[in-house]
């Protein structure tokens, strides 16, 4: 029998805001010492009340818009009640029946095919504190308590681990494009839970759903889902039954393991949060948020191919994130007529990416300005420097942020095009190397490369190779 998998995912993404969801504590807690970003509100002290962080609301609406969701004019917060030490109020302020945005979709490419994966809702809630277990005691770090969190719930439209992987990668890319989240799974800024069931192909009813948690990287998402699908198929093929349970991904054992039964589902007793007035997203606010919606990766990639005529694969690499695309576009805008957009693309995808990889920096962290890259490429195109020197200059630009002409002048790296000066260098090289000259004249033309190298060395690499080659041939002919 053939089976198909039905997969839906819930993604929690930490929203990048200055302050927390309901208080004024700084949300920049990534490297802070425990419990240094707290106040009576995010500690849930008696008498405190939440105050909505408007920036978090707008970031959620912006995300909903980017995910093709509708934005209802009415939305509200609810209390989700349960006891746990990481939840200081004994309830989490979340959204139950009126999320900020709903009914969207995301188009992803899987094996060269476009798949439209529907999104049920994107809502806003507060994060819990972080528990740190040490021996038989547990400590609580409230820095994370009440950080703004977006929950993005997909429909069960995914059919494979690849679908899910593509969805998450695309989702993260969009979150980053919007600047609403770092989307960093390893740091917990993006967390994912998958609901997986399988059924025989052709069957209408859904199989029993299993929730898989503890997916801490894109890799583990892909592996865990693939594993869980196979596990469930195996159980069914042996005539067994799937239990409605929560499984965890065991990163070391590369398998899903039983966590708890869902037989006694917790009753969260949701009810409207009486401390907060309902949210009204009116036309004016909707428009002002829509105006902030940046060009999204798909559209940007298509435009780069259309407008700049660069190769599609380069466009994909350059549009991977907004900063790189921005760098590319600024460089192209600044570039002279004689520098093509494809040349700019080649240099970024090649040299700049290499330097970024080596330094571990992001393109938005480096000192080099895109306009300076354009100037460098213009010097190359105009023959002021040769390609070898250009790479060398680029390295210095990358680390120092200095303009290319400054570096070239200071280090005297201008290409030597002067016939007379180069002729002298060529003659010296030939005089100093009678052996190779003799070989050349005897018909072994490969030694020309060696002789070019000698001239280049003598001119500290600055000689115009083309001219040197011509001069060498002419001078050698004379000596024949």
């Amino acid at each position: 029998m053939e089976f198909e998998a039905i997969i839906g995912v819930e993604v929690h993404a930490q929203i990048l805001t200055k302050s927390k969801m309901f208080c004024r504590c700084s949300a920049d807690v990534a490297h802070a010492a425990p419990n240094t970003h707290t106040c009576p509100i995010c500690l849930g002290m008696p008498g405190t009340l939440p105050v909505i962080n408007q920036a978090a609301v707008e970031a959620t609406v912006l995300t909903g818009m980017a995910l093709n969701c509708t934005i209802p004019s009415f939305s509200k917060f609810d209390r989700k009640n349960y006891h746990y030490p990481d939840l200081p109020k004994g309830y989490q302020v979340s959204q139950y029946d009126y999320p900020l945005t709903k009914d969207g979709y995301l188009d992803v490419q899987v094996n060269g095919e476009t798949r439209r994966l529907r999104i049920r809702r994107v809502h806003l809630e507060e994060d819990t504190a972080r528990l740190v277990h040490e021996g038989d005691t547990s400590l609580i770090d409230f820095n994370r308590s009440s950080l703004p969190l977006m929950e993005i719930v997909s429909e069960a439209d995914m059919r494979s681990a690849e679908d899910t992987y593509a969805y998450l990668v695309k989702l993260r890319q969009i979150l980053r494009y919007l600047g609403v989240s770092t989307g960093n799974m390893e740091e917990g800024a993006m967390r994912c839970e998958a609901n997986i069931s399988v059924r025989p192909v052709g069957m209408e009813e859904y199989g029993t759903k299993v929730e898989v948690k503890n997916l801490n990287s894109f890799r583990s998402v892909r592996l865990a889902i693939a594993y869980e699908i196979e596990r469930q198929i195996g159980v069914l093929e042996e005539g067994g039954e799937i239990q409605q349970v929560t499984m965890g991904w065991d990163e070391a054992g590369l398998r899903t393991v039983f966590q708890r039964s869902k037989e006694f589902a917790e009753d969260y007793r949701y009810f409207p949060e009486p401390d907060l007035p309902p949210l009204e997203i009116d036309q004016a606010l909707r428009e002002s948020i829509a105006a902030r919606l940046p060009e999204l990766p798909d559209a940007k990639r298509e435009r780069c191919v259309m407008v700049y005529g660069i190769r599609s694969e380069d466009a994909r690499l350059l549009c991977e994130d907004r900063a790189t695309a921005g760098f590319f576009e600024r460089a192209v805008e600044a570039a002279s007529e004689r520098v093509s957009a494809q040349t700019v693309a080649n240099w970024i995808v090649g040299e700049v990416f290499r330097l970024l990889g080596e330094s571990g920096q992001g393109i938005d962290q480096i000192k080099m300005q895109p306009e300076d890259l354009a100037a460098l490429l213009d010097m190359l195109a105009g023959g002021t420097i040769n390609a070898t020197v250009a790479k060398e200059v680029l390295e210095e630009m990358f680390t120092s942020g200095q303009a290319p002409d400054v570096i070239v002048e200071r280090r005297g790296l201008r290409q030597i095009n002067d016939q007379e000066a180069l002729s002298a260098a060529v003659r010296t090289a030939l005089d100093d190397n009678p052996g190779p000259v003799a070989q050349y004249l005897a018909g072994k033309e490969q030694v020309l490369g060696f002789l070019i190298g000698q001239v280049m060395r003598a001119t500290r690499g600055q000689a115009n190779v083309q001219i040197v080659t011509e001069l060498l041939r002419a001078e050698l002919e004379k000596r024949r």
């Binding site: 008498g47 909505i52 030490p85 009810f271």
Partner: protein, 484 residues
């Protein structure tokens, strides 16, 4: 007249004329507390040193030319409002010795005005009750008859005001918790419109019903306290962004021509005859002052009690979830794991009435019961509010008894829960509708005060105060003091 019997405005006059100092006034009250609080037991804690220091600071501010109606005025505060560094127990073992790190917004405003904080007054645990008998520490006694309850939950504040243990007091009203004890103790008690005074720092019982308010020896004092506490607070998103009018301006305008609604359903069968008689006589007074009385029907009045006892416990069940023994307050000492910590802490830290309401509320919100209880109650709440909307389309204010009876004996109703809940039957609707009301004394029966309430539409505190003030000017019930 003794200094401790002064109203805010009387004391202010003497202070402004430098006939007395705030330190003298505060000392007079501390002496009074020393003399009578053993019998009344209004205070959970008296801040003797801090009060005298506050008073000295107020005297300095006055010497520097500052003035404010509350500058140097000794006030008592119900122990459900957070006070920085000062124990805030909510009348519960759960918060015994708990010292908040911040002042409630209302407290900040009162302190800024120069008020002297005398101490924290007794309350039913987490404001859940009508007698102070649910306080985890002790029961406050009615200054008019020490064998009787002072009402509640702001019973400590009402008794302290009546007994001259403070000049005036702050309370909170979730279903009548200011007006009902004011009625039992023969003082004025104002429950402002929901959203008029910030709830920041008011330890929540039922968030959509709670409101901070005032208890004073007369209507003017309530107006002065409201004036200082009212206004939008960025820390409370449910506080209204509306300007605060001058409540004393026009308070003395005649009520001639004003339309007063008399809600039929508030004169209930089985109410104490003297109460009905006193309120009917008060209505005669209004008529003689030129007010027009209009018979009004509030058809959903009978549903107030059940609506309230679904919604208030539902909200309370979440609000009180934070008391779990993990970070502050009582924590069961001998629990083995986290779940036992929760169970034991809450079993030992909360009193029976609080537990009862948490269970009621939890039940009402549970899957399968939510629609039948919580959702239905929200719908009925809307109907109750519509009763008031219809009434205020016809009249300027409503006049009714505050409580169907006078203060009863301590322990008398403690075992008859339904009888006890009925004590609040005439006050709950105000909170459900989110409107405002003031209770003032309007008679005596067997040596015990009778109260009536004037209810106004949302943000119509000025109207309510004006109507109450007119009655006060025409009568002298507010001048009586208990024979302590």
């Amino acid at each position: 007249m003794e200094l401790y019997d002064l109203t805010i405005h009387q004391a202010h006059e003497l202070l402004a004329r430098r006939e007395i100092s705030s330190v003298e006034l505060t000392q007079a009250l501390l002496d009074r507390i020393a003399a009578v609080d053993e019998k009344v037991k209004a205070y959970l804690c008296v801040l003797e040193e801090a009060a005298l220091a506050d008073a000295a600071a107020a005297d300095r501010r006055r010497a520097e030319g500052e003035d404010h109606p509350l500058l140097g005025i000794p006030l008592a505060v119900k122990d459900v409002l957070t006070t920085r560094g000062i124990e805030t127990t909510c009348g519960s073992r759960m918060l015994e010795n708990f010292k908040p790190t911040f002042d409630a917004t209302a407290i900040i405003k009162l302190r800024d005005a120069g008020a002297v904080l005398m101490g924290k007054t007794n309350t039913d645990e987490f404001a859940m009750g009508s007698t102070t008998e649910n306080s985890a520490f002790f029961t406050t006694h009615n200054p008019w008859d020490l064998s009787r309850v002072p009402g509640g939950s702001s019973g400590g504040s009402a008794a302290a005001t009546a007994a001259g243990e403070c000049i005036a007091a702050i309370g909170s009203d979730t279903g009548g918790s200011i007006r009902q004890p004011a009625s039992f103790c023969g003082v004025a008690g104002l429950k402002p419109t929901y959203g008029r005074v910030s709830r920041h720092g008011l330890v929540a019982f039922a968030s959509s019903l709670d409101q901070v308010g005032a208890l004073g020896k007369d209507v003017t004092d309530c107006a002065l306290l409201l004036q200082t506490m009212a206004g939008h607070d960025p820390m409370d998103s449910t506080s209204a962004e509306l300007p605060v009018p001058d409540y004393r301006e026009g308070m003395d305008r005649s009520v001639a021509g004003i339309k007063l609604g008399v809600p039929r359903e508030y004169f209930r069968e089985g109410m104490q005859p003297e109460v009905e008689q006193a309120v009917r006589q008060a209505l005669d007074v209004y008529e003689s002052l030129g007010a027009e009385l209009v018979d009004i029907s509030m058809p959903h009045t009978d549903y107030c009690l059940s609506t309230y006892y679904v919604l208030a416990p539902a909200e309370a069940s979440a609000n009180l979830a934070r008391f779990d023994g993990i970070r502050y307050g009582y924590s069961a000492p001998d629990a083995q794991d986290i779940w036992e910590t929760y169970r034991k802490t809450r079993a030992e830290g909360f009193g029976p009435e609080v537990k009862r309401r948490i269970m009621l509320g939890t039940y009402a919100l549970s899957t399968g019961y939510y629609d039948a209880y919580y959702l239905k109650a929200q719908k009925v709440r809307t109907l109750i509010k519509q009763d008031f909307d219809r009434a205020y389309a016809q009249v300027d204010a409503l006049v009714a008894p505050t409580v169907p009876l006078t203060a009863f004996r301590i322990g008398e109703k403690i075992d008859d829960l339904l009888q006890l809940y009925l004590v609040d039957i005439l006050t709950l609707s105000t909170n459900l509708a989110g409107i405002c009301g003031v209770s003032i004394p309007c008679g005596m029966a067997n040596g015990l005060p009778i109260g009536m309430q004037v209810l106004g539409n949302a943000y119509q505190e000025a109207t309510v105060l004006r109507v109450a003030y007119a009655y006060e000017q025409a009568t002298d019930w507010h001048l009586r003091r208990p024979p302590l």
